[in-house]
Amino acid sequence: MERLCRTLMTWFLYLATGVLLGVSAAASPEKTKKALKKALNTFVNILPPLTATLLLVSISVALLPEKVIASLIGEESGFFGQILASLIGSLTLLPGFVAFPMAKVLLEHGAGVAQMAVFVSTLMMVGVATAPLEASFFGWKVTLLRNGMAYFWSFGIGYAVWLAVRIWI
């Protein structure tokens, strides 16, 4: 289901690109050439950081498969559990289609609410493996600041969700 959805989206992306490229070429070959040149230029520019990101994503996902993540963040609760969840969330990459059902199962097995919220938040907002790519666009200063702020804010989100669940459930 998830794979089908993604394949369809990729096909749609290619279809849209093809159609727009055709329209653009018909309207102005000159501008289209410029656009393609820009695209190639960006690609060449990001090749080194992209290589770094591909390597880091691969090793982090290999070291932290779903089963390992589930066993690591399901057991330890409290503040230490939150720190652990935040570190794992920052280091790995999981699509929401995988992360949310996993969070559900872990919550049903007694994992802490705050810890799950911290995990999900860091997973989404903080990316160590994608940092080289981010820095190639915005520089390291911006990348470190954005990821750092998002990391600390994730604990605020953890607290807010914990509070909300305590009040309403």
């Binding site: 501008k31 656009a35 960006t42 609410v113 799950m116 989404m124 820095a135 520089g139 998002a150």
Partner: protein
């Protein structure tokens, strides 16, 4: 040679990290090698059309069309638009970086760029229904609200901290 080395040093560092970790945990190393093939095809498969689309956007959409809606003077409306643009996205975060870079070049303010990146990463509307289904409405909606607050705060704070020089730096990066 020196320039080339400098350009690739981050990739070399990543290769070293991956190599060492792969040697220490040989099973994960083998798995990483397998994943690398999959990741190369997925990520490059997405990035190639994205770059072409962004190239087209860059040459066809003039600055004047974007800057008033998302630029320095766009105010609350610009913030709302930045949140909605990010939240309605469907791609992974690494796609958001080149998109944000082009938006910045078209006159979007730094604050709105960070708000856009924030909502892209954590407030995806297509994902919210799925999240509610999995972990329940209280968890999902409170996470959503707390994320929104943080994103707005971070946007304002980052703009204050970074200012114009960083903006210039980012813009120059891809001019060459």
């Amino acid at each position: 040679m020196k320039v080339l080395l400098k350009k690739w040093r981050i990739a070399i560092a990543a290769l070293l990290i991956t190599g060492v970790l792969g040697a220490v945990f040989p099973e994960a190393g083998r798995e990483a090698l397998k994943l690398l093939g999959v990741n190369i095809s997925t990520i490059i498969g997405i990035l190639v059309p994205v770059f072409i689309l962004l190239g087209l956007f860059d040459v066809w959409v003039p600055r004047e069309r974007i800057a008033p809606h998302l630029g320095e003077a766009s105010g609350i409306r610009g913030i709302v638009l930045a949140v909605l643009l990010g939240a309605s996205s469907a791609g992974p975060l690494y796609v958001a970086f080149p998109v944000a870079e082009v938006m910045l070049r078209k006159g979007t303010s730094l604050r709105n760029i960070f708000i856009f990146l924030g909502s892209w990463s954590s407030m995806r509307l297509p994902m919210v229904l799925f999240e509610i289904q999995s972990v329940g409405p209280v968890f999902a909606l409170s996470r959503f609200a707390a994320s929104l607050a943080g994103i707005l705060l971070m946007g304002v704070l980052l703009e204050r901290l970074l200012g114009l020089e960083v903006r210039q730096e980012i813009l120059e990066r891809f001019e060459k």
